[in-house]
Symmetry: C2
Subunit: 213 residues, 2 copies
């Protein structure tokens, strides 16, 4: 994916840095930190490996730089809407469909880096602001208070990405219609989390007695 990577024309540290970051994003998304290979990044970026060390430090720090850049992109491109979580979920879904490698990248981060305080820049603050916005929306009764802001956010993220990775049972490629169907299922699912509950217990006729098997 994303092969072209315009060849180095003249000396331009900024452009070289960008090529390295881009190549590293691909490589880390595909193989994670432990599985990534410096020489492949070097080759894909058409830049020398020593530059990686002078510009970024080492492999881990390169990964952090990649995360920072991409988190910034997501925060920038997917605007949050505390009072329209279903819409937010839809946009997140679209973004992930358009950038499938970013979910992988985030997952690698969780598995390999998130343990010892290597949060991407700005993420923590961004999440805090989202939580506060959700709480405000709930206080103003513009959003159902059935779930805590944290629950709502976690569930929205989970649902938006539920269909993303190559699932163990789903085909890797989807037709346009299938994609649209899944998108609206996600949006509807989130809608159901943000809609006020009706009187409990009176769950309408036809109640299923749930046997467990």
């Amino acid at each position: 994916m994303l092969q072209p990577v315009s060849p180095p024309k003249v000396r331009d540290a900024q452009a070289t840095k960008a090529r390295l970051l881009r190549a590293a994003t691909e490589e880390f998304a595909a193989h994670g930190i432990a599985g990534a290979r410096i020489d492949r990044i070097e080759a894909k970026a058409k830049a020398n490996r020593a530059l990686i060390y002078s510009y970024f430090g080492n492999k881990d720090q390169l990964f952090d730089a990649v995360m920072d850049a991409n988190v910034a992109r997501v925060l920038d491109e997917v605007p949050f809407a505390p009072e329209d979580l279903p819409g937010y979920a839809g946009r997140l879904f679209d973004f992930l469909v358009a950038n499938p490698h970013l979910l992988r990248l985030a997952t690698w981060h969780r598995l390999e880096r998130a343990d010892n305080g290597h949060e991407p820049q700005g993420l923590r603050d961004s999440v805090r602001m989202k939580m506060a916005a959700l709480a405000r929306a709930q206080a103003g009764h513009r959003l159902a208070s059935t779930f805590t802001p944290e629950d709502l956010y976690a569930f929205t993220m989970a649902l938006a990405s539920a269909w993303m990775p190559a699932s163990p049972y789903a085909p890797a490629t989807l037709s346009e219609e299938q994609l649209e169907a899944r998108r609206s299922a996600v949006v509807e699912a989130v809608r159901r989390l943000t809609t006020p509950t009706r009187p409990r217990g009176v769950t309408r006729p036809k109640r299923a007695t749930a046997p467990s098997a």
Copy 2:
């Protein structure tokens, strides 16, 4: 975690194999395939590394064996209930809380192995049966048909594990009450996906505002 790993007493291939599998589960869950180290597995299992190769083949095949064993465990210990998905989600949640490393293991599998047809044994069939069961429950009106079986399953899994990994914003350790609160949030969320939709648009006013955070 799980250090003891009873020392090798007498010669017992079966027991040695089990120790290796157990140690490999820990190691792979912690570091993935690329990050796992044979010598650490050797040390943790108190068995010689050559045995890994004679029993399992190589690193990748050892990982497959680990996956097979653990998938079998999950399928065995978390019974599926097509007509009680909220309950299933709750049990899944409990299982994941009790075995946090298994979600990591599954995630590593998706990232590192799922690409080229290395499905764990029995998983595909199990999922097929679950889909069929959900479809039957829907046909018999014992389960809302708002979502396809695939959507329902994907969402249930996503919600049950939404809170599992060290989230970017949540503390790694939870009090007993927090855990219980999250569990019931998950169950309630799934309940909302499985409840028939009421007439659209008429979203009843003023329902109980639950305190948040």
